[in-house]
C-alpha cells in the first residue's frame, strides 16, 4: 500500500532526524564539556525509541514485535523482554527458559488493563544464575482497548524500572495506535472503492430502461438484445471478486455501455472510434477504471441539442506501460474550475469530476503518485483524459 509505505518512510525520516538532532546536540554539549554523560543517555534513549518505532508502525505482529523488542531490551536495561498479544506470546527476547508461563502471568494484566509485578509465582528453574526472578508486566492499549502486554524480567524489582516500563508501554501503545490508523485509512479507501464498484449510475439505469422500453413495440428484437446487453453490463459491474480486470474485458464492458447509450441517443449523434494496440489488451487494470471516464464524457461533455458527439479511445503500447487516452469533442470545461473541483473533491457542484476524481484516486493508490490522470480541456474544446498503466502489476502483493 502506498499510504503505509509513505508513512513508514516518514517515520524512518523522522527517526533519522531525531537521531541526527540528538547527535548534534550531544556533540555540541560535549564541546562545552558539561553534562556529556546525561546527554549521551538521552541520545541513546531517543535513538532506540526512534529505531523501534519504525517496526512498530507495522502493527502488533510477531515480526514487528521481534524487531522492536531487540532495541527496547537495551532501553529497559533488563535481561529478558517479552511481548504478547491477547492470545499468544509474540516474542521472547533473551534466554529460553520460562517463556511458557508468560501468557499465564499476563492474563490478569490483559483483562484488567493495569500493570503488575510478579515476584513469587515464577517457577524456579533451579539455576542460581538465572536472571528471571521478577516479572513486570504492563498492558499495551489501542484506543482504550487492551491489545497486548509488555513484560520485563529481572532479578530484583525496582520502582524506577517499573516506571520506565510503564512509559515504554505507553509509548508503544501510541505507535500501535498510529499503525491502526494507517490500516484503517487503507480500509477506508478500499471501502470507497468497493462502494464505487457496486455502483451503476442510477441515471444510466433509468435511461437504459426507458430506452429499451421505447423499442419493445417498434423493434422487439433489438429490445431483447439491449436487455441482454444491460444484463451483461450489470453482471460485469457486480461480479469480479478481485480488484483487477484486463484491459480487454474493460473495453468489452465499455462496448456494452456504448451500445445502450447509442440506442438512446441514436447511432448518428453518438459516434465513437477506437484504436487499440493488441499487445496491451492483456494488461491488468483496476476494475472499472475506464468505464467511468466514458460515462463521464457522455454525461457531461454531450450538451443538450448537440448534433454530433464523438468519443475516441486510444490504447498504445509504450514499453513497460500502456498509454490509454479518451478524447471527446464535447463542451469541455474551464480548466481552473475543473482543478478546483478535483482538489476539493466536492460532490455538491456539477457532478462532472466525481468519476474522474475517483478513478484518479484509485490509480494513484494502486500504482503510485505519478500515475494519476492527465486531463487536457478548455471550454468548447472537448476533453482529453490520459492515463498510463504499468504492464507489470505484481508490484502489489501477489495473489
Amino acid at each position: 500500500m502506498l499510504v503505509t509505505s509513505a508513512d513508514a518512510l516518514l517515520a524512518a525520516a523522522s527517526a533519522v532526524t531525531v537521531g541526527a538532532a540528538g547527535w548534534s546536540l550531544c556533540a555540541m554539549r560535549q564541546h562545552t564539556g558539561r553534562g556529556a554523560l546525561a546527554d549521551e543517555a538521552t541520545f541513546s534513549a531517543l535513538h532506540t525509541v526512534s529505531v523501534a518505532s519504525t517496526s512498530l508502525r507495522a502493527g502488533l505482529t510477531e515480526d514487528s514485535a521481534r524487531k522492536a523488542v531487540r532495541h527496547l531490551r537495551h532501553l529497559l536495561g533488563v535481561p529478558v523482554v517479552a511481548v504478547t498479544d491477547t492470545e499468544r506470546l509474540l516474542v521472547w527476547e533473551g534466554g529460553i527458559a520460562h517463556s511458557d508461563s508468560t501468557l499465564r502471568l499476563a492474563e490478569p494484566v490483559l483483562t484488567a488493563g493495569r500493570p503488575r509485578v510478579i515476584v513469587r509465582e515464577l517457577d524456579p528453574c533451579g539455576d542460581p544464575g538465572c536472571q528471571v526472578r521478577v516479572a513486570m508486566i504492563a498492558p499495551l492499549t489501542i484506543d482504550g482497548r487492551v491489545a497486548g502486554a509488555l513484560a520485563a524480567y529481572t532479578e530484583k524489582a525496582r520502582f524506577q524500572r517499573l516506571r520506565i516500563l510503564g512509559e515504554v508501554a505507553r509509548w508503544m501503545s501510541g505507535q500501535l495506535e498510529l499503525a491502526e490508523l494507517d490500516s484503517s485509512k487503507a480500509r477506508l479507501m478500499e471501502a470507497e472503492m468497493r462502494a464505487l464498484r457496486a455502483q451503476i449510475s442510477p441515471h444510466f439505469v433509468y435511461n437504459s430502461l426507458t430506452t429499451i422500453a421505447s423499442f419493445v413495440r417498434t423493434d422487439p428484437e433489438r429490445a431483447r438484445e439491449l436487455v441482454l446487453d444491460f444484463a451483461d453490463f450489470a453482471r460485469y459491474s457486480f461480479r469480479n471478486p478481485r480488484d483487477f480486470t484486463t484491459l480487454a474485458e474493460e473495453l468489452r464492458s465499455i462496448d456494452r455501455y456504448l451500445l445502450l447509450e447509442r440506442a438512446r441517443f441514436g447511432d448518428e449523434r453518438l459516434r465513437f472510434s477506437v484504436e487499440i494496440a493488441p499487445e496491451v489488451l492483456p494488461v491488468a487494470v483496476p476494475f472499472l477504471s475506464l468505464q467511468p471516464l466514458v460515462e463521464n464524457a457522455i454525461r457531461h461533455g454531450m450538451e443538450c441539442g448537440m448534433q454530433r458527439f464523438h468519443v475516441r479511445i486510444v490504447a498504445r503500447d509504450a514499453g513497460a506501460e500502456a498509454a490509454i487516452s479518451l478524447e471527446d469533442d464535447g463542451v469541455g470545461m474551464d480548466p481552473d474550475k475543473l482543478r478546483s473541483l478535483l482538489e476539493t473533491g466536492d460532490g455538491s457542484g456539477p457532478a462532472r469530476g466525481i468519476g474522474l476524481l475517483n478513478v484518479d484516486d484509485r490509480l494513484r493508490q494502486v500504482y503510485g503518485e505519478e500515475y494519476g490522470l492527465v486531463i487536457e480541456t478548455a471550454v468548447g474544446a472537448g476533453m482529453k483524459v490520459s492515463l498510463r498503466v504499468p504492464k507489470c502489476h505484481t508490484g502489489l502483493s501477489p495473489g
Partner: protein, 563 residues
C-alpha cells in the same frame, strides 16, 4: 547497389506491414479488443530470436568447424522446449512483464531486482556485440566498406530506429520479419540444393578446393597455411615481398599475406586456410569432434547447456509472452515457436555445407559470416544470383534490425527503470546500451560473430536460468539465496566472457572453460542458490504460497469468466 536494393525491399515490406497492422480505427470495440493470437505472437518471437548471428553466422560456423556446430541450431530450437516446459505459463500467470519484475515480485526484494537487472544488462551487451560485429561484416561484404564503418553505420541505424520510437514492440512488424527471414533462407536453400544435385560437380569428401579460378582479396593481414604447393598469381604483399601480378609457387606450410593482397588461384587448387582454422578433410569435417578444438566433448556439452538453459534469460523474448492473454495461450505460443525455429534452423547447416563446396576461400580470409551472402553468386552467376543476393541481404538486414532493436529496447528499458524511468532517460540508456558493445566490438579479438553469441547464453544460463527455474518451482528459494546464486553463476560467466573477448583464444582445459564456461558456471549458479537458500531458511518470503498458487493454478480455476 545490392545493399541499397535490399534495404529498399526491407523498408517497403515493413512500411506496408506497419500500415496494415496499425491498430484499426474500428468503430466496433469488440473487434478491436481481439488479442494477439498465439500463431502471430509465435511468429513475432521467432522473428526476434533469429538474429543476424543466427541468420549469417551459423552457416559460417558450420563451414569452418563442421558437424560440431550443428548443436547450436539444435540447441536454439530445443532451448525453447525447455522454456516452454518449465517457465512460460507460470511466468505469464505471475503477471510480470520483465524478468526484473518477476524477481522483485517472487522474492519481494529490491536487491534481487537490482541483481537481475544487472544480469539483463550484461546479457544484452554480450548479445549485441556479435550482432554489431556480424552486421558490420555483412555490410562490408556487400558494399565494400571497411568493417569498422559497417559497424558504425549499423549502430547509427539502430539508434535512429530505437530513438524515433519505430521498431518498438509492434507484434505485426516482428511477425512479418520472421516470415521474410524464413523465405530468405528457404527459397535460396531449395534452389541451391536443386542446382547442386543437378550439376553434381563438387566432390564433398575432399579437402576444400577451388572449382574455378578464383581471386581472393585478403581483408586483413593474416597467416595462411597450405597443405599442398600451389601456383598463385599475386598482386600485393606476400611473405614480406611485393608482387605485381606474377605467378608465384607457394610451398606447403604457413605464409603471411598483407591486407589488400589479391591472390588468384587456379581451378582445382586446395584452399589455404587462415591459421586460426584447422584444415579438415570432408569426411572429418562431417564427423563430430574432429574439428581440432579443445576438449570437443566437454565444449559441446557446455555449449548445449548454455543454449538450452540460456534461452529463457533473453530479455527481449520474455516480454513478448506478455502479449498472450493467459498461461495457456502463452504455452501454445511457445510450442509454435519451437516448430518455427526448428524449420528455420535446418537451413544454416545446409548453407554451411554448400559454402564448403562453393565459397571455400572464406576459409582463407576467415570471414565465414559472409557465406550466405556470397553463395548466390557462386552458384547462380548473373541476374538470378543478383536477385537471390538481394533476397538474402534483405533477410540479413531484417534479422539484424529486429533482434538488435528488440534487445536495445529491452536493455535500455531495464537501465532507465533503474534510473527512475521517463523518455529522456530511456534515450540516454539506449545510447549507453549501444555504446558499450560497440567499444567491446572494437577491442575484440574473436573473428566470428556466432562464436561470441554463446557468451550471452552462458551468462543467462548460469544466472537468470537458476533464478527463473527455482523461482517458479521451488518453495524454499530465499532472496539471499537468489542474489548469491545469480552472482556466483553470472560473475564467473561474465568474467570468462570478458577474457574471451579481450584476450583471444587459449588452449587446454582453461581455454575450453573460458570459451564455454556454462559447464561449470550453471551447476555453480544452481548449487549456490540452493545451498544459500537452505542456509537462510528463515527468510523464505511470507507470500511464497500465494505466489506459487498464482503461478501454477490455471486462470480458469481462479476466476469465473463470462462465456
Amino acid at each position: 547497389m545490392i545493399a541499397v536494393l535490399a534495404l529498399a525491399l526491407l523498408a517497403a515490406s515493413l512500411v506496408g506491414v506497419s500500415v496494415r497492422t496499425r491498430p484499426a480505427r474500428a468503430s466496433d470495440l469488440y473487434a478491436a479488443s481481439r488479442e494477439v493470437s498465439p500463431w502471430w505472437n509465435a511468429s513475432a518471437i521467432s522473428g526476434e530470436y533469429i538474429s543476424a548471428a543466427a541468420f549469417l553466422g551459423m552457416a559460417g560456423l558450420v563451414l569452418a568447424y563442421g558437424a560440431d556446430m550443428l548443436w547450436l541450431p539444435i540447441g536454439a530450437a530445443a532451448g525453447h522446449v525447455v522454456l516452454l516446459t518449465l517457465v512460460t505459463a507460470p511466468l505469464r500467470r505471475s503477471g510480470a512483464y520483465t524478468l526484473s519484475d518477476f524477481a522483485a515480485w517472487r522474492l519481494g526484494s529490491r536487491t534481487v531486482r537490482h541483481a537481475v537487472s544487472g544480469c539483463v544488462v550484461i546479457i544484452g551487451w554480450f548479445y549485441l556485440l556479435p550482432q554489431f560485429q556480424g552486421a558490420g561484416v555483412t555490410l562490408s561484404v556487400i558494399s565494400g566498406l571497411p568493417v569498422w564503418s559497417g559497424g558504425v553505420v549499423v549502430v547509427l541505424a539502430v539508434a535512429a530506429l530505437v530513438l524515433s520510437g519505430g521498431m518498438r514492440s509492434i507484434t505485426g512488424v516482428q511477425a512479418v520479419q520472421f516470415w521474410l527471414k524464413l523465405i530468405a533462407v528457404v527459397v535460396p536453400g531449395l534452389i541451391f540444393l536443386a542446382i547442386w544435385r543437378l550439376q553434381n560437380d563438387a566432390d564433398v569428401a575432399r579437402t576444400p578446393y577451388f572449382h574455378r579460378p578464383t581471386t581472393v582479396t585478403a581483408g586483413a593481414s593474416a597467416g595462411i597455411q597450405l597443405t599442398t604447393p600451389a601456383v598463385v598469381a599475386v598482386r600485393g604483399v606476400l611473405d614480406g615481398r611485393r608482387h605485381h601480378g606474377e605467378r608465384v609457387l607457394l610451398a606447403a606450410g604457413t605464409h603471411r599475406v598483407r591486407s589488400g593482397a589479391r591472390l588468384r588461384f587456379p581451378a582445382g587448387a586446395a584452399v589455404p586456410h587462415t591459421s586460426r582454422l584447422a584444415l579438415l578433410r570432408g569426411d572429418r569435417w562431417a564427423t563430430p569432434f574432429a574439428g581440432g578444438r579443445n576438449h570437443p566433448l566437454a565444449a559441446t556439452y557446455s555449449v548445449l547447456l548454455a543454449v538450452l538453459l540460456g534461452t529463457m534469460g533473453l530479455p527481449h523474448l520474455i516480454v513478448r509472452f506478455y502479449s498472450n492473454a493467459c498461461g495457456r495461450t502463452a504455452r501454445r505460443t511457445a510450442s509454435l515457436v519451437v516448430l518455427m525455429l526448428a524449420t528455420f534452423c535446418l537451413f544454416p547447416a545446409l548453407f554451411g555445407a554448400l559454402g564448403r563446396l562453393y565459397t571455400p576461400e572464406l576459409l582463407m580470409t576467415g570471414e565465414t559470416d559472409a557465406t550466405l551472402l556470397m553463395l548466390p553468386h557462386r552458384i547462380l552467376p548473373g541476374l538470378a544470383g543478383d536477385l537471390l543476393t538481394i533476397l538474402v541481404a534483405t533477410g540479413a538486414f531484417a534479422a539484424f534490425a529486429s533482434t538488435s532493436c528488440g534487445v536495445v529496447v529491452a536493455v535500455s528499458g531495464t537501465l532507465s527503470q533503474g534510473f527512475g524511468g521517463g523518455t529522456t532517460r530511456f534515450r540516454l540508456a539506449a545510447l549507453v546500451t549501444m555504446a558499450v558493445p560497440l567499444v567491446l566490438a572494437a577491442l575484440t579479438c574473436a573473428p566470428q560473430s556466432t562464436a561470441l553469441i554463446t557468451l550471452a547464453f552462458s551468462v543467462a544460463a548460469s544466472s537468470l536460468c537458476p533464478l527463473l527455474v527455482l523461482g517458479v518451482w521451488w518453495w524454499r528459494l530465499t532472496p539471499a539465496g537468489a542474489v548469491a546464486g545469480v552472482l556466483a553463476g553470472g560473475g564467473p560467466a561474465t568474467a570468462a566472457g570478458l577474457v574471451r573477448i579481450l584476450s583471444g583464444q587459449r588452449t587446454g582445459w582453461l581455454g575450453m572453460l573460458i570459451e564455454q564456461p556454462a559447464l561449470v558456471t550453471v551447476p555453480l549458479g544452481f548449487g549456490v542458490m540452493i545451498a544459500v537458500s537452505l542456509l537462510t531458511r528463515s527468510s523464505v518470503p511470507a507470500h511464497t504460497s500465494r505466489a506459487m498458487a498464482r503461478m501454477h493454478v490455471p486462470e480458469e480455476a481462479t476466476s469465473e469468466r463470462p462465456a
